[in-house]
Symmetry: D2
Subunit: 256 residues, 4 copies
């Protein structure tokens, strides 16, 4: 097999470098968030960028043991107690379009809107109105808007937008999702931006492609899954979790 | 990287062979169970061996959607609907020492007993009595005995042992677990052999090492997981599963 | 949480039933392939259907240790030797649109073609020609056609179609993929139906929805992954697999 | 099913709290490493503790695309391109006793040595000498010592111990591994402490149980896996990775 190429890590015999940066120097002075940014962005962050990425990672790490990712990790540890990797992996596998995926979908939506505004020389409000009308016509949901629990306002949204504005990092991504929010209010009804929408707008403004929305959610959530696994391991007995099931299929058959 | 060696499959340009057998010939005349046996045993089974392996695979495939493996697969599909592989993998990851692992542990126990009887020239009853006494002294459970649900008798055990005897395949493995059952009854209390114990004894008699006990459980259970995933996908909505959680940790803190 | 409903398994305290069938009876007389069919189809197969499903499962189980699924399973076992479940799950996770996914994509294509022929009252050849023209215009590949290795003809295709015809099970699915093959030859160039296409056509004729194409590939491949894991475990040392990588990114930087 | 209890996250309708701390406050002012520490330790770290955990996470995040975890993640993405979760999970599944597990094994060793020194009122040197003699007698390797690549000295070890001493956090864990290093040199031959040993000693001194050694390695490595997945997705084609395999099994057989 030919040798793989890679641009990320140079794991030489004496030094490990990440995108050219000496890992020893990073170990002495950088934060884990600096490294996460560098691994996904090709440079280390400014202090303002670091603050925002820290806020996003903290806000996504854990939403309670009843979320599908945490419940799956605990179920796996419950049956397969020797393998914390298996439990964390089971949790990661529940993350997809429906769970943890709204952020990257909203990044796609914002990117499409910004591209359309630029290409067709539209104002953000006009481009946003068209996207909202198209979503209504197609009867698709707008990712980044609405929440089952926070029917009025998710307080994490205010924190994220407040930090972005305070640090001068609210740019076209934040601008465009605000335009979407206005278009939704005028054309449908007031639906608040949710935390997926807020982090999507900010990640666009930090220069990340939309797949990074999903990847950073996974990186953040693994910290929470790891803690759930630690608690399940130290507090609970194996096989404690049984889910009651009711059979509603065909009645018994006489068979061979 | 050096080339990997393998003894299993010769995937040449025109023919795929499994342990020397032409896959085209197998496709025409063999059963999937023949192939599973061949992949794990180096030859195809006799008709009697095939019957027993079919019975073991059928008996292990699915025990209901509330079992940890099935529940984890459904949770994963619920959040990550695009990926049936992720859901099946999440289910597989719950399988470990506590869930689906008793079969291979019981195979280890039987193998240790048979080795000891041979090496120390003991009768099966004497060797079994020593193992039972040691387990009592160490306060460890004997894998393959007892069941949460079937407090008296698991009917699958009778079917498996009946098939083994009818086909002349009940040998030292079945003989030794019967000796263990007698020793348990005399030294502790009557505890029935469970389905893990029955399949362990039979897999020993079929010549499989103990890791195969776990592997065949996974092969069988994946058929059930696949069906659970199909049902979840066709009947249920995304993110339907929320598990109620009660927080019993420290009270709110004033923090930065 | 409300109780889950399920139609598949009734795991009562004394009997396990699958879609109403007594598992004890199945253990005595059915094959594992019968159970797989029942779990995904709501009834047990005829002898002819069983033969075809056996052929499909055997033909998909293992294509050699260099395939992504097998390589990933061996890599996982190499680092995480205590967990056969983790290794098999890692192998399953490589299965997606690009690896093992052509079967279900081809089932979608055939289903779309059959629906169009019916709705627009077209002959199979006309409907197939339109699908081929649309794929050319969109520059998308036709799943189920062509192969990297078997540039002329995959012998498994002849076996599968031969079995289907011999048993009287070659119906509209096989008929439509033949029409597609003719349309490809006339409008592009002769490209043979590959094994994914053959099994797709047959699974359509057996009445399965397209997601089952992917699920049965996973069920089959897990048997092969299990054997690869067994061989890696018994023949190879931990951490034997290292892949040579060449760094082609930015040069060393002076950093903090 | 009874409600699950949890001590970690209180995901109420208006506020998410982690171990009593308001997530909004953490988002404004804490680092992701603070949250990781809090999730696994019940309180937020001091500045010195944060520095050490950052160094450990940075030093473990990525060792190049040829490591089993990264290779498995890239293989999975190569076949299953729609699912970054599946690729990251496949990478996590390679982490076990042999890959990434030496840290927690070394934490167990240090904990056993400290407990023995305390209980039997031995000096660290005497307790370490006994552990080394026992490992020699049992022919087991001492986790945390020696390295395939860095035959003399891994520079990350000096950085980690330097930071621990500079910040006044080198306590009994570091003291005991130094005693082990002396005992190894006197009783076997000079074998340097490796990076797993250094981080094990420091994690013991930070008050973590040994399972956290494995969990933090996973948390760190997921950041690297995520970046490898991003690079594979943006730079490489699907199914690019084929591993050459040589069949060394039985010759072709005439079979049915």
């Amino acid at each position: 097999m030919e040798t793989w190429r890679t641009a990320i890590v140079d794991a030489g015999p004496d030094h490990i470098r990440v995108r050219g940066h000496d890992v020893l120097g990073l170990m002495r002075a950088a934060t884990f968030t600096d490294l996460i940014f560098l691994l996904h962005h090709e440079r280390t962050p400014t202090a303002a960028e670091r603050r925002l990425v820290d806020a996003i990672l903290i806000g996504s790490a854990d939403h309670g043991a009843g979320a599908p990712s945490c419940a799956a990790a605990r179920l796996a540890l419950s049956g397969n107690r020797q393998s914390p990797s298996a439990a964390i992996a089971a949790g990661v596998l529940t993350i997809g379009d429906e769970h943890g995926g709204a952020g990257s979908s909203c990044m796609d939506l914002i990117a499409a809107g910004l591209e359309r505004a630029r290409r067709e020389a539209l104002s953000f409000d006009t481009a946003a109105a068209r996207l909202v009308d198209e979503a209504r016509a197609a009867k698709t949901r707008l990712p980044g808007f609405g929440h089952r629990v926070h029917s009025t306002n998710d307080p994490r949204v205010d924190v994220l937008f407040g930090l972005a504005e305070e640090h001068g990092l609210a740019r076209d991504g934040v601008g465009f999702i605000r335009a979407l929010e206005r278009a939704v209010r005028e054309r449908i009804k007031p639906i608040p931006i949710n935390v997926d929408g807020a982090l999507a707008a900010i990640l666009v403004d930090l220069g990340f492609p939309s797949i990074v929305g999903r990847l950073l959610f996974i990186v953040a959530r693994v910290a929470g899954l790891s803690a759930e696994v630690l608690e399940e391991h130290s507090r609970e007995k194996p096989m404690r979790i049984r889910i009651p099931v009711e059979y509603d299929g065909v009645p018994p058959k006489d068979n061979c």
